[in-house]
């Protein structure tokens, strides 16, 4: 093995870790919804896409600085999340889980084609280019580094919220037993609404970071949406730590697989790994053996 090869390998490993940070952030919001409301938001990545358009228009058309546009976008997507819950999920709460999943599949179509109709199918770019970090002949994208840091911060904030506040405690309690908590005087509907808004806010947060790395187009959600679901399932639905670990495992497989061949083969490997893991540990990577 030559030295150059090792540098590439190391670069791929580090880039995998950085990609894992972004994926972990995406998985975090979805896991929250999974864990508390027990619903799969198939359209989660499309919320991120809408957020990315929000960032684009705020920055490019209204000339807002990035750090002012970001909170606005987070609020916008949080409102979308709450709206999604009120309009689609709430009427279906007692329906079979498959129906809820498919209804959000319909929302996926709606958001995608809404973006096509409203914004066109052109690729757009926010126009902010962050420098590429060079370190010992290896190249790392600054945007990924930022996303990685933000994902970790996001995790800690959500953890603190869930353990240190009354609402957070109520959310965790509902995730354990949704019938009893209503009898304990917790307003289930309110908690669901807050959770949905929080999940939306996390999607908005992710979109603020992704917009720095990816071009925006109506179908951008499809490029990271499926991966996000698989990560959540791999980590165990609703298991935050599991989702976090799974995101990094997945990202490394994609990154290393892409090193030896095309990037697509990295994805193929990751998907195949997922299917195999489903058979070995169906309840998630970190599930306790029963």
């Amino acid at each position: 093995m030559t030295d150059i090869f090792d540098i590439y390998l190391l670069e791929a490993v580090v880039n995998g870790i950085l990609l894992g940070g972004v994926l972990a952030l995406l998985a975090l919001g979805l896991n929250l919804i999974f864990g508390v409301i027990d619903v799969t938001w198939i359209c989660y990545a499309e919320l991120v896409m809408i957020g990315m358009y929000g960032m684009y228009y705020l920055v490019q058309y209204f000339g807002l600085p990035y750090y002012l546009a970001a909170p606005l976008t987070i609020l916008l997507v949080a409102a979308l999340g709450a709206l999604l819950h009120l309009l689609v999920i709430a009427p279906l709460l007692s329906a079979p889980p498959i129906n809820q999943l498919l209804a959000t599949g319909g929302v996926l179509f709606v958001l995608q084609s809404f973006a096509t109709v409203a914004f066109g199918i052109d690729f757009r770019n926010i126009g902010i280019r962050l420098p590429v970090l060079q370190f010992a002949e290896m190249h790392f994208s600054y945007a990924r580094l930022l996303a990685f840091g933000a994902a970790l911060t996001g995790m800690v904030l959500v953890y603190l919220f869930m353990t240190r506040t009354y609402v957070g405690t109520a959310i965790r309690a509902i995730a354990q037993d949704r019938q009893i908590m209503a009898l304990m005087g917790v307003d289930t509907r309110r908690i669901y609404l807050i959770t949905s808004a929080l999940g939306g806010a996390l999607a908005g947060f992710a979109s603020c970071l992704l917009v720095l790395q990816y071009d925006i187009h109506p179908f951008v959600g499809l490029s990271f949406g499926p991966i996000t679901f698989l990560i959540c399932v791999l980590g165990g639905l609703g298991n935050f730590v599991g989702g976090f670990v799974a995101a990094f495992v997945f990202a490394e497989i994609i990154s290393l697989g892409g090193l030896f061949s095309d990037l697509e083969w990295g994805y193929v490997l990751a998907f195949a790994f997922f299917i195999v893991m489903m058979f070995i540990r169906p309840a998630g990577l970190l599930a306790r053996r029963r």
């Binding site: 958001l111 084609s113 994805y267 489903m278």
Partner: protein, 331 residues
């Protein structure tokens, strides 16, 4: 009762006679598309009606279309042989993924997401092997080098209409066959309560596997047929998650618990897309999916049995209000 027994035959004769009386190529083209997609949606509903919601059918369809076309282009294997090989490949794929799923009791959300990964894999493999499959730019089977029949390529819309009609009727026949078999009761029991069904002596894994393989075989046939008719396939039109969702959507709008439901779904979705396309021209890009999406959500919330399913149910309850003691309609 006489009329009820006769009407399917009369409808069949009318459908066969149609292209000889009326041969507007555009309308025939729409009819052929409706028939092919109806068949694909019917194939999906074979599983879907028993609570086995799969988002992997885009994968099976992609295998059907691409294996047939690749064998023809690279090895010169006629589609008459290629299609059975493609169907067998799809069936093998179905068994590889579905057997462990059923064996390890992966159901509900988890089953949906495993099958989602399957259609993701097929899409990525097609894109990754772009040297052979043309990647995301799409792929065209070579035009015939001799006999049209051997290459299964016809310029004539009437021939295609009759082929599509035949395959569609085959799909309905399979549906009826499953409907009349013991497996249907076993699968209905499984979809109600898997453990109870197993305790009652139903071999859960085998029953589920059987219907999955049937469904995968039919879906890949639909893919191959679509490829032969359109003479152009791309990963986005025959595989991937959006195709899988499209199948689910049409089946639900039409009603997936009645045999003609998926057909009604195909008629509605394809006509909707065409009307919007003609009415708005290029401005319509995106509008059809917007309407689809809204309809899908509205249907799941208000009419989970679909248009045809709800109509059939209403007719039944009006005609015979005292049938509650009989086993109810299949659902």
């Amino acid at each position: 009762m006489k009329l009820r027994q006769l009407s399917p035959w009369m409808a069949g004769v009318a459908l066969i006679a149609l292209p000889f009386v009326y041969r507007d190529p555009y309308h025939l083209h729409i009819l052929i598309l409706i028939l092919i997609w109806s068949f694909a949606y019917t194939s999906w509903s074979m599983m879907g009606r028993f609570g086995l919601v799969s988002l992997g059918h885009g994968g099976f369809m992609g295998v059907g279309a691409y294996v047939t076309a690749l064998l023809w282009n690279h090895l010169g294997v006629t589609p008459w042989v290629g299609i059975p090989i493609a169907m067998a490949a799809a069936a093998v794929l179905a068994v590889i993924v579905a057997y462990p799923c059923f064996r390890f009791r992966i159901t509900g959300h988890y089953f949906v997401l495993v099958t989602l990964a399957l259609s993701g894999i097929v899409l990525q493999v097609i894109t990754a092997t772009r040297d052979y499959t043309g990647g995301s730019l799409g792929y065209t089977p070579d035009r015939t080098k001799g006999s049209h029949l051997l290459a299964l390529q016809f310029d004539d819309k009437v021939t295609w209409y009759l082929i599509a009609l035949g395959v569609w009727a085959l799909g309905l026949a399979v549906w009826r066959w499953v409907d009349g078999s013991m497996d249907r009761y076993a699968l209905e029991a499984i979809s109600e309560d898997e453990d109870a069904a197993a305790a009652a002596g139903v071999n859960v894994t085998v029953e589920k596997l059987k219907i999955t393989v049937i469904s995968a075989l039919m879906t890949s046939l639909a893919g191959a047929l679509y490829c032969q008719y359109q003479m152009f396939i791309s990963p986005d039109t025959v595989s991937g998650i959006s195709v899988s969702l499209q199948m689910v959507f049409a089946a639900i709008v039409g009603g997936l618990y009645v045999s003609l439901g998926p057909t009604v779904g195909a008629v509605i979705t394809i006509l909707l897309a065409e009307v919007l396309r003609i009415g708005f021209g290029t401005k319509a890009v995106g509008w059809d999916n917007l309407v689809y999406g809204v309809l899908l959500v509205v249907f799941i919330i208000f009419l989970p049995k679909g248009i045809l399913g709800s109509m059939v149910e209403k007719l039944k309850t009006q005609a015979k209000p005292l049938t509650s003691r009989r086993p109810s309609a299949p659902h």
